[in-house]
């Protein structure tokens, strides 16, 4: 098997792929097509069930499945072992391997990269394929023209710069990708692919770490990444009570969540789980309403892919008005109650379908 491959690590829980896996497949599909390569998915689990078909429907040409009771929940060392064994057994290593920048991806990817002594770029927000000519003569062995490099692009220096990181000298070229940034493909049941079972060979030392307990949805679950509408509050709310207004506005929408900027989280007005931006979540809802948020770069990188951005701010000079699509200049404590009132008035028993048809997102 010498076909060029882009390999995606699939995160799963109880046999269900996590959303980031579909995002990686969407991004991986684009890279694979540019490279003329095959898109492969790797999943480790206790029992894959129909997961392979789901991954193929989302863009995979090939699915490697490692099934073993010890692989039920993610643990560094067993997962490390099967993935290393899979890659090492290939005639040619994958051209690219992608992981999500999740607690799992960031735990596993560095170990795989260190094992293969290859490059790994963290927390990418854009990926592309392109040529690169290395002319630096400090290391003559690296000089040359490389046609098919992974362009791993990530924010740096407090997100004021985008850095393009390359490592074309050795395959696989690896990256972790920030969740919520890449676009998954619409699943297509007609898509075809092959499923390959991976031999699982675990050693005693791989099993020395034991997961005693896993608690998900501790406290409040904030579904920012699945929401179509996000109402976000910033420091401009002036006080923690301002978030009750955010919840009231969010309640006007069908599928909504409340977000926040870092300053509001740091002030202790709302939990970190709501934070959008560099050290919070990356979101791309259909509608993002930023209330009292100045629009610092750290916040912007988390939300500027939203289809429509509406900013409500008193300060006409706030940077958010530079990249929002619509700006309402005014006191949010006056504007939002009026907005809520009129949205509620708009309610009609029969929705105006002509609006739906003409509005493009």
């Amino acid at each position: 098997m010498s076909t060029k491959q882009v390999l995606v690590f699939v995160e799963q829980a109880d046999g269900c792929a996590r959303p980031v896996a579909f995002e990686l497949l969407g991004a991986g599909r684009i890279l694979a097509d540019k490279l003329g390569a095959e898109l492969a998915a790797f999943v480790a689990c206790a029992a894959a069930g129909d997961l392979s078909e789901t991954l193929i429907a989302h863009g995979a040409d090939r699915v490697y499945v490692a099934e073993h009771p010890e692989l039920a929940a993610y643990r560094t060392l067993p997962y490390r072992r099967v993935l290393i064994d899979l890659i090492a057994a290939m005639e040619t290593p994958p051209h690219i391997v992608l992981f999500g920048s999740t607690t799992t991806g960031r735990d596993l990817a560095p170990r795989i990269a260190a094992y293969f002594e290859t490059g790994l770029t963290a927390d990418c927000t854009e990926l592309d394929i392109g040529p690169y000519e290395h002319t630096n003569s400090q290391d003559p062995s690296k000089v040359g023209l490389y046609p098919d490099c992974l362009y791993a692009i990530r924010p740096s220096f407090g997100e004021s710069l985008k850095a393009r990181i390359l490592g074309p000298w050795k395959n696989p070229q690896m990256a972790t990708v920030r969740p919520g940034v890449m676009v998954p493909l619409a699943p297509d049941a007609a898509r075809t692919g092959t499923v390959h079972s991976v031999a699982v060979r675990l050693e005693e030392t791989d099993l020395q770490l034991v997961v005693a307990e896993t608690l998900r949805s501790m406290g409040e679950q904030v579904e920012l990444q699945g929401a179509e509408v996000i109402v976000s509050g910033g420091y401009g709310l002036g006080n923690p009570e301002g978030f009750s207004l955010m919840y009231q506005l969010a309640a006007c929408f069908e599928n909504s969540a409340v977000g926040s900027s870092r300053k509001a989280v740091d002030a202790g007005w709302i939990a970190h789980a709501h934070q959008v931006g560099q050290t919070g979540k990356t979101v791309r809802p259909k509608l993002y309403i930023a209330c009292g948020i100045s629009g610092a770069i750290q916040h912007r990188v988390g939300m500027d892919k939203s289809a429509t951005i509406v900013a409500i701010n008193k300060d006409l000079n706030a940077p958010i008005f530079k990249f929002a699509h619509h700006g309402i200049v005014g006191d949010l404590y006056q504007v939002i109650p009026e907005l809520i009132r009129q949205l509620k008035l708009q309610k009609t028993p029969t929705p105006d379908t002509s609006n739906v048809a003409t509005h493009s997102l």
Binding site: P110, A114, T118, G119, S160, L209, S217, K322, F323, P349
Partner: protein, 274 residues
């Protein structure tokens, strides 16, 4: 217990001095500080010593001024420190950094625990801890916010998406500490006095803070610095000012203003709850 803690000196991004007009860091001018994430790792190391005894060794890689953060660690109660400083380390990426730190840990001797900050504020990769664990061939616990040690085994709570996980594994292990872990306490009076003494007494200083280079730790220079780094920063681009296309609604009576916004279908009707 033989406890190591890895710390790094980073540019202070809060300080305006040292930021070039294009947004890059002028490392010569930038104010420097202890990586904020490493404060949690230091606290974890000191906490482990408080409960289980032993010594804490702080390890840092960086240019000579990085000794400042080793003094800071000593003021907080760290027993001794090692500074790996060598020009051949310039432009190390995470793989090369993890290799150099691995050689330093090996030089420093047997260990039960290596604590690392979750990530640094200048690189933001969170990769060096796991890469070090891979080189050391030991288990790792990342995103750790709480731990205890019982019969040569660490039991730790780690943060995961939307929750937490309790794991246990035998020592030795590498632990990266989340910023939801306990904060670093104040410097101790004893620690501050110790630093004063070290600054006066050169012989004592070189005994407590060892400065080493690649040859001292037996590292292969070809695996360090630019030569040992499989990745390079090929290009940087200032995040562009988007703009000018924002439709503004202002200067009208409130009711009419909101009316205009809704009439313009700024908010897609199908998103509104019926």
């Amino acid at each position: 217990m033989n406890i190591f803690v890895l710390i790094k000196q980073v540019p202070d991004q809060g300080a305006k001095a040292g930021i070039n007009p294009d947004g890059t860091i002028d490392r010569a001018k930038a104010k420097r500080m202890l990586n904020p994430f490493d404060r949690y790792a230091l606290e974890a190391a000191l906490h482990a010593r408080r409960l289980y005894g032993g010594t804490v060794t702080a390890i840092s890689m960086g240019p000579p001024p990085a000794i400042e953060i080793l003094y800071e660690a000593i003021a907080h109660g760290v027993d001794q420190a090692i500074l790996l400083s060598d020009r051949r380390l310039a432009a190390s990426d995470t793989l090369a950094t993890a290799y150099a730190l691995y050689c330093t840990v090996r030089y420093a001797g047997a260990f039960d625990l290596v604590f690392c900050g979750l990530q640094t504020t200048d690189g933001d990769t969170a990769q060096v801890g796991p890469q070090l664990a891979e080189r050391l061939q030991v288990p790792q616990i990342t995103y750790c916010e709480k731990f205890e040690i019982d019969h040569n085994e660490i039991v730790a709570r780690r943060v995961i998406e939307g929750g937490a996980q309790t794991v246990r594994c035998p020592l030795p292990a590498v632990v990266t500490v989340a910023n939801s872990a306990p904060r670093l306490a104040y410097k101790t009076l004893r620690g501050a006095r110790r630093v004063q003494q070290l600054q006066r007494d050169e012989a004592e200083r070189s005994r407590v803070i060892r400065t080493v280079n690649l040859d001292d730790i037996g590292a292969d220079p070809l695996r360090c610095g630019l030569k040992g780094s499989p990745t390079i920063v090929a290009a940087t681009e200032k995040v562009g000012e988007i703009g000018g296309n924002c439709t503004l609604y202002q200067g009208k009576p409130l009711q009419q203003l909101v009316d205009d916004v809704l009439a313009a279908q700024v908010i897609a009707p199908e998103l509104v709850k019926r």
